[in-house]
């Protein structure tokens, strides 16, 4: 039966290829959606852990979301620095802003940090920020070293670029001095978003609370929960579409092979053997589509503005899911195969 199944696959290669490409595109989208969802976590993790701290001291009652922290007085740095358990403490400002690049308005996440302190980004090209008026930006902003942009009327010159430093779904981080950030965000007032520490403070003054990197990341990701939920729903829908494509192909093939089924039954094939043949075809089509999808996803990730990080587990899930999709699809044609009367082979 396997030989007959494989011969039939070759015989109908064109229609199977169409279904494989169609389902493959859908599978590629599911992988990319997995990558998008994972990308939210990756960008938060890279931004938060990239600060080089072990804990964040924030205002009591602050949301804990890295780009939505309640401001606290800059002088809070002093009691934090001397708090038991703290080895080093540096203030940081993290606030979404709008940047004017040429004639375009682009979203950025402005990060103000103390030069030489915690929060220094790993520069890919150029050099770190050393003075006011300078900025290190993520490559997604599309600016190179020497190019200029402005934020709330403050002109900034790019002195360095980084990679993989985005937040909120692909919005580029832009790193400036702490003073520049205070001037832009707080009109020069001595306020900061958080105090970064190495070592975890064991006691803090009233009005302050400590969060670990993990806590900050979790709360920041919760901000993207509706986007993640939409992506998950879309991904589920994509699986259904892929299953329908494969099932439709298998069913149409079964309709075309009704006479073949009758002849094979007349020659001694059992309904179980026929179903096995159908299931084999469906699974092979689904797995081939999964392979195409995996290949396409590696080339298609660049079409998205935000980071796409497809986890390895997604490829394994895809393979297993393709197997399930194939088996389910073959059930659609099972009834057709079982119900064929072998006496039909006598029909002219």
């Amino acid at each position: 039966m396997l030989a007959i199944t494989l011969h039939d696959l070759r015989f109908r290669a064109r229609q199977f290829l169409i279904a494989i490409v169609g389902a493959g595109l859908v599978f590629a989208m599911t992988l990319l959606l997995s990558g998008l969802a994972a990308g939210f976590g990756v960008e938060v993790d890279q931004t938060v852990t990239g600060m080089g701290s072990q804990a964040w001291v924030v205002a009591q009652g602050s949301s804990g979301r890295v780009a939505a922290l309640s401001p606290l007085p800059a002088f809070a740095e002093f009691p934090v620095t001397s708090a038991p358990g703290v080895q080093r403490a540096d203030p940081v400002i993290v606030v979404p802003q709008a940047a004017t690049v040429g004639h375009q308005l682009k979203s950025i996440v402005l990060v103000g940090y103390r030069s030489g302190g915690l929060g220094v980004p790993p520069v890919l090209t150029g050099r770190p920020v050393q003075a006011d008026g300078e900025a290190v930006v993520d490559a997604r902003l599309g600016l190179g070293v020497g190019q200029q942009f402005s934020v709330s009327g403050h002109a900034l010159t790019v002195v360095g670029t980084v990679n993989g430093r985005t937040l909120l779904g692909g919005i580029a981080d832009a790193y400036v001095t702490l003073g520049e950030a205070q001037a832009i965000v707080f009109e020069g007032r001595p306020l900061v978003s958080a105090i970064l520490t190495t070592g975890v403070p064991r006691a803090l003054p009233a009005g302050l609370t400590v969060m670990s990197n993990a806590q900050v990341e979790n709360r920041s990701l919760a901000q993207m929960s509706s986007a993640s939920s939409s992506i998950d729903n879309s991904r589920s829908f994509m699986w259904i579409i892929a299953a329908v494509i494969v099932a439709a192909l298998v069913y149409v093939t079964a309709l075309e092979r009704t006479r073949d089924f009758a002849v094979m039954k007349a020659l001694g094939a059992s309904s179980g053997a026929l179903f096995l043949g159908l299931a084999t075809q469906a699974v092979l089509v689904a797995l081939a589509a999964a392979a195409i999808g995996a290949l396409l996803s590696t080339f298609m990730s660049g079409i998205f503005a935000q980071p796409v990080d497809i986890p390895s587990s997604a490829f394994i899930v895809l393979s297993v899911s393709a197997l399930v999709v194939g088996l389910l699809a073959s059930l659609v044609a099972l009834r057709r195969a079982i119900s064929v009367d072998p006496a039909m082979a006598f029909a002219g």
């Binding site: 007959i4 020659l267 006496a343 002219g348």
Partner: protein, 329 residues
Amino acid sequence: MAELEVRDLTVEFTSGDYVVRPLSGLSFDADDGELVVVLGPSGCGKTTLLSCLSGLLTPTSGSISFRGVDVGSLSGPALGDYRRYTVGVVFQAFNLIRSLSARGNVMSPLRLAKVPRRTAMARADELLEIVGLSERAGHKPAEMSGGQQQRVAIARALAHDPPLIVADEPTAHLDYIQVEGVLRLLRSLSSPGRLVLVSTHDDRITNIADRVIELAPQFAVADRDPEEVALAAGQILFKQGDRGDLVYLVEEGEIEIFQVKADGSEEHLAVIGAGNYFGELGPMLNLPRSAWARAKGPSRLTGYTVRAFRRRFPAPGAGVQSPVAPLGV
């Protein structure tokens, strides 16, 4: 004891709302080594008979016995073995699997029976040699003529070397040169150890047969004097499925024509009054009656053979008409 014994074979099934009986009480014998031709027009039950002989259709009543085995009593694995190893089937429309080569098609019954691939391949090549198609072993059905496809189908039927071969209209789609080749092959297959049964509507093939089974009997006298028939009220003239050779002209009274549905209810088709005729298509085309005829009240009819009816009424509508002409009874 004959190799093949068919006794009172009847097959009845429902088609739409109606009961159809393609075989009614058929009985015949056939012996080992014979080429048996089952002769009859379309719709007379040839394919139904072959379906029963090959174990693919269960008759409504009657029995089929091959080499002492009651085919009707077989079920499950035993029936599967009968279909696989005892009978080889050559289908009317070849029914080769399009995606397989000639060799692949001949191998298919063997592979489905889990015969190892090499053994199956060797056997397939041997059979293709027998039917004269060795050079076409790698060709797909679409690359072969009708006659070649039919010979591949015969080779496939021989895969398990069955003692019974049934061939359903094996020459139906072939030109006369291909017909000769196929018939020669079938004739050569009917030898001691094998019985070959061929169904056909072409009575020329009966010339090579050892035995002929006529499913639509030819009436002994094609022409005879008209018969007077008197019917009492409610009396049945003929039933659906009966064989008849007479066209009836109603002289007096009325005859109702009706069909009996599968649920037993009657569907009235027409009432034939004096001066009208009915029942012409069955005798003309040698088909069973397709409806019942019953006298509504006391009636008198004259039954004509087809020839006599044409002599009596040479022109259509010449003083008579058939209210049920579109149906034909």
